[in-house]
Point group: C2
């Protein structure tokens, strides 16, 4: 465990529609799963409105604290898409029409026989000096500045950007997990499970009630970066459940 590499991250989801309940977020859960798989520890998520002050404040708090910040939303062509401005302000650089993005988008709209309107040109805006995140779905790129990765809110586009981005990131030793289904409710296993956690401090043991009808069972999830550590804790959990079962049938 001592030589495990720890890489941390936060997600900042941006959009009034997430806070009004009009749109149910799909990006947070998706990226959370992907990050876990590659060994990046997601430590915090925030959702803020389309408000420049709020975006800047959240971004500055998160980027100072975690290895990476990933944002979703607010990089489209309309007046309520203000993420590029907010990110530029957070970094104290100009928000410009990026030459390479202008060329990409201009060529794409020409191929499609569509006007490259001022609104569409907004999608080429990013902080001066930012690098692109390619967008295989709708061309308009996301961008990277410092440790901040700015992606679209539309899930198909967000996911394409995540796919393009992940191979470029520093990743850590992935946390592995084992799931043990307990036929007993949390109230029956809570005491002994706390003892197992205490005896295996290098693991993180979570307990998740499953509620069907009026009956509870429990998913016990053991997490650790090291397989041996994980094996030992899993064995202890299984032994604990056997003991409870034996007591019940006695």
């Amino acid at each position: 465990m001592t030589d495990a590499t720890i890489v941390t991250a936060a997600i900042l989801a941006i959009g009034d529609e997430l806070l009004s309940g009009r749109t149910k977020d799909k990006n947070i859960g998706h990226l959370a799963q992907v990050l876990t798989l590659v060994g990046i520890d997601l430590k915090e998520v925030r959702i803020v409105p389309d408000d420049e002050e709020e975006i800047v404040a959240a971004l500055n708090a998160l980027r100072a604290r975690y290895t990476y910040v990933f944002t979703s939303g607010g990089i489209g062509p309309t007046h309520d898409d203000i993420t590029a401005d907010a990110v530029s302000r957070a970094f104290g650089v100009a928000c410009i029409h990026d030459d390479e993005a202008m060329a990409l988008l201009g060529a794409m709209y020409e191929r499609r026989g569509l006007d490259f309107t001022e609104a569409r040109q907004r999608m080429a805006r990013m902080p001066q000096g930012a690098r692109h995140i390619p967008n295989a779905v709708s061309t308009a790129p996301g961008f990277i500045i410092g440790n901040v990765h700015v992606m679209a809110g539309v899930p198909q586009v967000f996911q394409a950007m995540v796919d393009a981005l992940i191979p470029q990131l520093q990743t850590g030793t992935p946390v592995q997990s084992r799931s043990v289904l307990s036929p007993f409710g949390e109230g029956d296993i809570g005491g002994p499970l706390a003892e197992v956690q205490k005896a295996h401090p290098e693991t993180s043991i979570g307990s998740y009630p499953k509620f069907v009808g009026r009956n509870f069972s429990t998913d016990i999830v053991i997490r650790a970066r090291d397989a041996g550590t994980l094996d030992a804790a899993e064995n202890a959990v299984r032994a604990m459940l056997d003991t409870i079962a034996a007591t019940r049938s006695a």
Copy 2:
């Protein structure tokens, strides 16, 4: 608009399982919709791990800033359920086994012929002086202290607690919304839509791309607390779309 009552809120979702991607949150979107309906403006959401320091820090930041804070998760019977401790610490009061909650839970487990274990007794813990949020599903109450409302993470229980809670809250003048479907993509309407927003500053106009195959259309959502204001902006949006359609067919 000037005499509208504004009531604000934040959601703090607590749980390692949300950050690992194991569990896809269902509570944020549900409560966001309910709050919008009753006229409470959800301004911010945070998701933090089962870590007392992190919960306390987020809670203190949010409760100082918004009318209400709603939390989900971490009030079950196991060692990783530490929300009651964290909330008590944030308010600087003792975390106690509440008498009324002990009586409720004790009676329930007696009826069900189950031991009222130390783990189950943990579900009666709350900050000294907290009031209950009734739980029609599984009895163990949520609680209220100051402007903070602490609820379960299991969606069925969370929703039952929200139902019990909402009638007790101060509510504001609800934001109403109108949705206008634009057959044109955001790139075609972005410029004129920004003009409509500028001419109707008391509304908030959002633009949400719908992406099917390779074609974009756009949901334009106009939001305001006042019906007259909303009517005027909706008419302006429809007139704008008619103008674009006429230009296209000319």
